[in-house]
Assembly symmetry: C2
Homo-oligomer: 397 residues x 2
């Protein structure tokens, strides 16, 4: 059954200083009329690469490894300003879809830090270790310069075990230890990664990462080809992220073992992945996709709307280390307001189904970030302006 | 490469009497300003059950066969007016998503006929043969009363080979022959259907249907478990429909062999299936889902945006027997107008990608049906009014 702290209709929520302080019928204070809306906690996009907006729709038609080489080629040529504008567009788009927190892996964490403070969106990001693109020492320097702030959490980004050498992975671990943060990495994504790792090192990817001591710091993303014994190892990890659309579009053919991970008590979150592989940043659509991929791959209907909803809200906040994901006093005032006339037939016991299976991020009309209300129309207008600048930059290139 | 007749930007389209009569820069006539839009042909939803809107979100969590028994239980109790209101909502929703034609299987074809004429949406529908719900003789009577009109095409609906007896299937074939129409049927949808048919009759589902002489009349839906030799038989069929979301949500675990069917020259279309199994009627989302399911299931990226776009436009019109699905003189003026500021970065060679992988039906702001323009806002308003009536009817029940 649906927890009442998850989806609310006809309720007053009192917010003070960024926190929910009361929920009920008889609350007092300044009122925002929510009679037209269904309210849920804000959503956390647990894996993305916002700086890739400029590559959205650029190249869609190959498997992950060929696709990556195409992306890296373009990224090496791109201007720093292109990344920056892409990131701002990405953040605004996500806000318009009810996303109130995210985890980013790219090459401009300073921009992410700045925009997260500007808009009040919770962001975890860092410079990314990726041997063919940058020098590990330089990544370390940027990393040490990043400061935790009200909305920004510096994390260590390691692209993958096939794109960074062992020395770099160990450096990443030491940094995570010293800076008291966590490690965000693509792991066990493709058959090729599994095969190559096993052949070269005699170990499966998670076994290898565990041997290097990374497990307690780990936010492991994809895991489409993780084995049952590796899942046991991941019980000691911080979190995992499932990105169904990107996996399917890039034909990785794997399916993250959602049910087993959940049963083991592993923190399961949901990510859209980047705008060049999804190509949408709509976390609402991603929740549905997770149910669909799970049901298709495991030939049963064990994964339900509530599982993906919890993954995209409560578990996302657990990952970020922020008390959020519930409509409850003491939780952060990060909320998504759905147009209730789109979630029909409107019956209390169908609300969650209509959110997950019927709606998209476009059904959300207002997003509340730490108590501050953003209107979809204003966000759309702002996105247009920045896209104009990005497009003119792209035309010049 | 994208055919220019598929997606157009900055173009003038002249419409007369429901047909496109000129496309270009220098056309003359009354002008509708489309500078804010990207134009595509209208979309055909090749398989749905609109009357099930009242069951949207009612029950989501079991495999097809258990789910069906739940649905039939509710359908036996439902009022005729519930089906009617559901159907009108479904049609208006589809129109708001750029759908200009559809194929419906339910129990109120008279309503479909009436609404299709009212709104100018092309509809193929008929009474449905389904032994546990209705009497075949009564279905035949209704069927004989349906008349082809400007927008409505009476077809023969057979629920499936497991829910209708052989005598009824033969009656359906004779009716199709006599009334010069086609047969719309769920076929090879689940492992159970394959197993039971083979065990009982010694034949696979398509082999059986072929033995009864139905192949030339066939619009076969689902085919998630069709074999390669049955696909050869289907070369002689009218059409097939792929409904990825519904198949995945109901854990049928099959994957329609899209690439092989296309290579054999079989007409492949796309359907959302009904609002109780998808639960959305958004054909734009369904195009993406088709790519995702294909890539995931066949471990390659052979199915591309253009394949699903063609299936949902040109092939849909081929199924309906209407000259549509292209922006070209002589074709029907059924068009979808996407807000171009949502399809970004806006570059000509990314338009199709952004339509299929980024957008949803909500990016469509106007739909043109046979030359008549419908605005999204007006449609949304109208949907609200009818939902109010449906919900009050549901509350009384």
């Amino acid at each position: 059954m649906l927890d009442l702290d998850g989806v609310r209709e006809n309720v007053n929520i009192v917010i003070d200083n960024g926190y929910i302080i009361a929920v009920g019928d008889d609350t007092q204070g300044e009122e925002i009329d929510c009679s037209e809306f269904v309210v849920t906690p804000g959503f956390v996009n647990a894996h993305t690469h916002l700086g890739m907006i400029f590559l959205r729709g650029y190249y869609d038609d190959s498997n992950l490894h060929i696709w990556l080489s195409k992306m890296w080629e373009e990224e090496r040529k791109a201007l720093r300003e292109t990344f920056r504008l892409s990131t701002e567009i990405g953040i605004l788009e996500m806000m318009s879809y009810g996303i109130t927190g995210f985890v980013d892996m790219y090459f401009n964490p300073e921009d992410v830090a700045e925009f997260s403070e500007l808009y009040g969106i919770r962001a975890a990001a860092g410079m990314t270790f990726l041997n063919s693109i940058n020098d590990p020492n330089q990544v370390e320097r940027v990393q040490r310069s990043l400061k935790k702030s009200k909305f920004f959490i510096p994390i260590i980004n390691v692209h993958s075990i096939y794109s960074t050498d062992e020395k770099t992975i160990i450096l990443a671990k030491e940094l995570a230890e010293e800076l008291k943060t966590w490690i965000h990495i693509h792991l066990s994504e493709t058959r090729k990664e599994i095969y190559d790792t096993k052949r070269k090192l005699g170990l499966f990817p998670v076994e290898y990462i565990n041997k290097l001591g990374l497990t307690p710091y780990l936010h492991a993303v994809h895991l489409g080809w993780v084995s049952s014994w590796e899942l046991e190892i991941l019980k000691a990890s911080r979190s995992t992220a499932h990105c169904p659309t990107s996996n399917m579009k890039l034909a990785t053919a794997g399916a993250f073992p959602f049910y087993e991970a959940k049963e083991l008590g592993i923190n399961v979150t949901i990510g859209t992945d980047g705008p060049a592989s999804n190509n949408s940043l709509d976390i609402i659509r991603e929740m549905k996709e997770a149910v669909l991929l799970q049901r298709h791959s495991y030939w049963d209907t064990r994964i339900k709307a509530l599982d993906v909803f919890t993954a995209a809200t409560l578990n996302g906040y657990k990952l970020l280390g922020v008390k959020g994901g519930k409509i409850k006093p003491g939780y952060v005032a990060d909320l998504a307001l759905f147009d209730k006339y789109s979630l029909r037939p409107l019956a209390k016991d169908r609300l969650l189904s209509n959110i997950v299976y019927l709606s998209t991020g476009d059904y959300i009309k207002k997003t509340i970030l730490n108590g501050k209300i953003y209107d979809k129309k204003e966000l759309t207008q702002k996105i247009r302006t920045i896209y104009d600048r990005l497009e003119s930059l792209m035309e010049k290139a």
